[in-house]
Amino acid sequence: MTPSSMVLLLADGRFPAGAHAHSGGLEAAVAAGLVTDPATLGEFLRGRLATGGLVAAAFAVAAHRAAGVVDRRSTLARLDAELDARTAAPALRAVSRRQGRALLRAGRELWPTGGFEALPAGPPGPHQPLVLGLVAAAADLDPVAVATIAAYGSMTGPASAAVRLLGLDPYRVHAVLAALAADCDATAARAVATAADPPERLPAPAAPLTDIHAEVHTTWEVRLFAS
C-alpha cells in the first residue's frame, strides 16, 4: 500500500459518513462493566478487530474486487446476503445498513460516477463494508488500503466513544490504538488474503455476547450512542 492522502481522507473520523453517532458496542460493554479503563478498552478493541473488524475488512475487500468484475451486481448481492448471515443481531444488521446508507450518500456526492448503482437497492440500504469497497474502488485505492480503512474504523469508533463515555485520558486511549496498530495491519492482511474466496467462504468470526448486548442496548430508555 502506497501511503496516500486518499486513504487518510476515507479513514478520517471526520469523514461525513455517520460514524460519530455509534460506539461500536462500547456503550453496552461499559454498562456491563466490561470496559472500565485503557487496559480493558484495549482488550475490547482486540476482540473487535478479531471479529467484526476482520469481517468488515474481508467484505470491503471482496466488494472492492467485485467492482471490477462483469457480474458485479449479483456478486454484491451475494456478499450482502452473506454479511447478513454473519451479523446475527438484527440491531447490528440495521446499524450496518444505516451506516452503509450514510457512506453511500457521501460516496455519491464525491464520486457521482462511482458505479454505486450495482449495490443492492432497497430502503434499508446496503451493508457498510460493501459500500466502503465501492467507494475505495472509485477512489482508486488498492485492497490493502481498503482492508486497513475497514479494520481501523472498527477500532477508532469505540475508542472515541470511550473518551466520551468514561472520560478516559485521550493520550492513553491513543497509546492503546498505537499499540494495536500491528494487530490492525495483520487483520487487514488476513482480509486481503481471503479476497479471492467465494462469498460463502469469507471469514465469519462472531462475538455472541456483543450481539446480545447490541440487542439489549436498543431497548435502553437513555443512551448516548445509537449503537
Binding site: 471526520r14 461525513p16 459518513a17 455517520g18 460514524a19 460519530h20 453517532a21 455509534h22 460506539s23 444505516r98 446508507r101 450514510a102 450518500r105 457521501a106 456526492e109 457521482p112 430502503p123 466513544a161 466520551r164 463515555l165 435502553w220 430508555e221 437513555v222 443512551r223 448516548l224 450512542f225 445509537a226
Partner: protein, 245 residues
Amino acid sequence: MRPESVSPTPHEPVPHDETVPHTHPEPGVDPHAPLPSTVRPLRVGIGGPVGSGKTALVAALCRAFADELRLGVVTNDIYTTEDADFLRRAGVLDPARIRAVETGCCPHTAIRDDIGANLDAIDELVDGVGPLDLVLVESGGDNLTATFSRGLVDRQIFVVDVAGGDKVPRKGGPGVTAADLLVINKTDLAPMVRADLSVMDRDARARRGDLPTVFLSIVVDPLASAVADWVRHELAHHRGRLAVG
C-alpha cells in the same frame, strides 16, 4: 421596553441570499427547469441552547401551519427520542410526519459536520407521507456555538431565552450572530429573572446587523405568530427562487 414593542423585520430583504455561496443539495434537480409539481420543501433549522424552548416553538409552528402547509419535523436528540416523543404526545402533528435522529453525544455534529442522518430522515419523511412544503429540523440542545450546515437547511432560526440571562445576545457565537432569525423566547419570564429586554434588543441588533430578531412568549402567543409569519415569507421566497432559477 415591552416585548410587543420590539418589531420583527421579516419583510426586509435578507442580504445573505446573494452573498453566501449556495450549494444545491439535490444536484439531480436542475434549478433552471420549470417548477416541478413536487418542489423540494423549504428546510428550516431550529437551534439553540438546552431549555430555550426549541421543541415548544416547533409545536407552536405545527399548530400554526396545521391547515396551511404540508409539514414534516426532524428532531435531533442527544438521548434517545425525547423531543420526537413530546411532539407525538402533544398531538400537534401526525406521528408519521415526525422523525427522530439520534446524534451520539454530539448534537452539533449531526447538523453541521456530518449531516447524512438528517438528510436520510428528510428523505424518509417524503417517502412516507409524500411531498412536503416545509421541513423543520430541530437540533439537540447545544450551546452558543451550534450552527446548521447550509447543506442541510435553507434557513435557520436560533432560539435563546430571557431566563438564560440578558447577556446572551452580547456573547454572540454563530447562532446569535448569523442565524437567519433570532428568537428571544420566554419574554413572559423577563420580570421574574430581571432580564432587560431592551438590552437584549440592543445587543442583538449590534451583533446581527440587518438580520431580524423577534421576541416571543408562547404562553402569550401559542401560535408563535411572528415566527410563523417569517417562515411564510421565507417559504414564498424559496418557491420564487426555485421558480425563477
